[in-house]
Each structure stands twice: as structure tokens, then as C-alpha cells.
Amino acid sequence: MMIDFLTQVSRWAIPFLLFIIPAYAYFKKVNVYEVFVEGAQEGFTTAIRILPYLVGMLVAIGVFRASGAMEYLIKIIYPVTNLLGIPGEVLPLALMRPLSGSGALGITAEMIQTYGPDSFIGRVASTMQGSTDTTFYVLTVYFGSVGIKKFRHAVTVGLAADITSFLASVFICHLVFG
């Protein structure tokens, strides 16, 4: 019921915005088309400005993923996470999630297929995938777009949130699904 409602909200949100923003502007006597074009002009330059940051980050992540370094990293942290009751199968997803959105989605899809959507691992993977964002992508693109070079504690905070959501996913699934 709640889900149906929320799905409808998602479905209607963009048409609603496309309707209400120009209509409100017209009502406020703004030259709607001219002002739209004026703002739209920044679109191209903004997209191009983030390009070098995207390429830089994607290359490092791409090489890391392709090399198989991930498996070694998992071997190192497995003993610790195992003690905490975290299934080793979900570690690749936890490591991939902050780095690559498409990579994480791929792993989630594979895990849901392999272990089944209603298995414990399938549920943890589903929860994990939805509960955080691609931290590195967001940080490099957002800071890059305005030329910020020193991120201060943004990386620490972002990663702490990822780790928390990851641990919470496992813990909450234990509680809810047993």
C-alpha cells in the first residue's frame, strides 16, 4: 500500500516538476522560454568541466577492479568480518559500493541470481545496494565541478557512512529476516 503510493510519487515527480516550474514562472511574469534557455546554456560547460575528474577516478577504479586486487583485499579483511557474523559473500559488494555504481549493481544482480532473492545473502545484498551511494563518484564529480582540491574530512565522513550502512544492513537483516 505504502509502496504503491511511493511508486506513484516517483512516477509522477518529473512530469509534475516539468509542469509546475514553468507554470509558476509564467504566473510570476518571467519570460519562461528565454530564461529556460539562459539557464540551459550552463549545461554543456558543466558536463564538460567534470569530464577530467570522471576520467581520472574511473581509470584508477577500472585498473583496480580488473587487476583482481579486490580478492586479495577480501582475504585480508575476511577474518575480521567473519568474527562479526558478516557473511563473506557480501564483502565484494561492500568494497565495490563506494567505488563504482555500475560495478556494485552488477555484483548485486549476480548475487541475487546466484543465492536467490529471498535468501539471507540476497536480502543483505539488496539492502546494501539501496542504502548508500557511490561516495567516490559523488565526491570527485561534485568537488571537481567547482575546482575544490582539498576535500578536508569529506572522504572520512562519506566512508564512515558507507561502513555504517553496510554493517547496519547485515545487522538489520539478521533482526528482520532471522
Binding site: 516538476l17 581509470v59 580488473a66 539492502t127 561534485y142 578536508r152 550502512s165 537483516c173
Partner: protein
Amino acid sequence: MVNLIWLFLLLTGIIVAGMSGRIEVVTESALHAAQTGVKTAFEIIGVMTLWLGLLKLAEKSGLVKVIAKLVRPIAVILFPSIPKNSPALGAIIMNLSANILGLGNAATPFGLKAMSQLQDMNPNKEEASDAMITFLALNTSCITLIPAMVISLRVTAGSANPVEIVSTTILATTCGTVVAVFLDRFIRKRYYRKKVKR
């Protein structure tokens, strides 16, 4: 820190590939990733253009200010450094709402706009401001009400109850957001205390 992480990813990748006798994957994946970066940037030009045009309309008509006013009580607590009625608040709210509703590609233009408005009031143009860090803490740990992608994966795999993970997702993401907001506060306070001592 981002310098170190970037270097770590790249160098570890090359060393591991070299030691396992598959050095050629480095060349392959580096060139492929570079192309993906360009493709991604070009693919968002259209969406970016559309939403930045609409955002300008929302700004000129005063709609952004109306939104900023609505969320002022929360914004004052989360973003003490942003002046009241600043258009940046409006853009931040629109970005977070787009994220929450799962409108991924509308979120980025709003977010980049918010960043450029935050940058305008940032005294040190090379260093992230307090408000930027708080904004990104909220953004990256953000709540998604409908993890639409995951639900569709579960439907495809024949789940008996594809949406059962919505509640667990919201709970897990809330934990992450709470930790992000408090940790940001904590580190920021320590940062200024150190600065004063110097």
C-alpha cells in the same frame, strides 16, 4: 586523502596485475575506463541542460526561495554557515529530494548547482567549506525511499516478496546518514579548536 586513495587504487591494481602475470588487463581497463568517463560526461549533457534550464526558471520566479523558506528550521541546524533565504539551500533541498525519490539523473544538476552556489560564498576556493561537506555527507549517505533498481532485479529473479527490502533499506540508510551528520559535526568542531590553538 583523495590523492592517496587514487594512488592506492591505481598502483595496487598495476602491481597485483603484474604479479599475477596479467599486466595486459591494466592497459585494457585504463583505456576502457577513460572512454567510459567521456561517454558518461557526454551522456549527462542533455539531462544537465534540461534541469539547469528549469532550475533557472525556478530561481527567477522565486520558487527556490519559497522552498528554502519552508526548510529553514532544519537548514539552520544542519547548515549554520549558509545565510537564510540563500538560493543554495533551495538547490540543496531539490538535490536531496530528487535523491530520496530515486530520480537519480535529475539530482546531479541540482547538486552541481548547489555546489557552485556554495562555492560563491566559500572564502577559500581550493578547500571544501563546512556547508559543502555537510551537503555531501547527506548526499552520499542519502535515503532512497524506493530502491527501484533493486526491486526490479528481485522481481526478475522471482522473489516471493520483492519489496520486503524497502524497510530494511530505509533503516540501514538512516543509520548511515545519522553517523555521517554527527561525525561531520564532531570533526568540524575539532578542526576549529585546533585552528584557534594555532
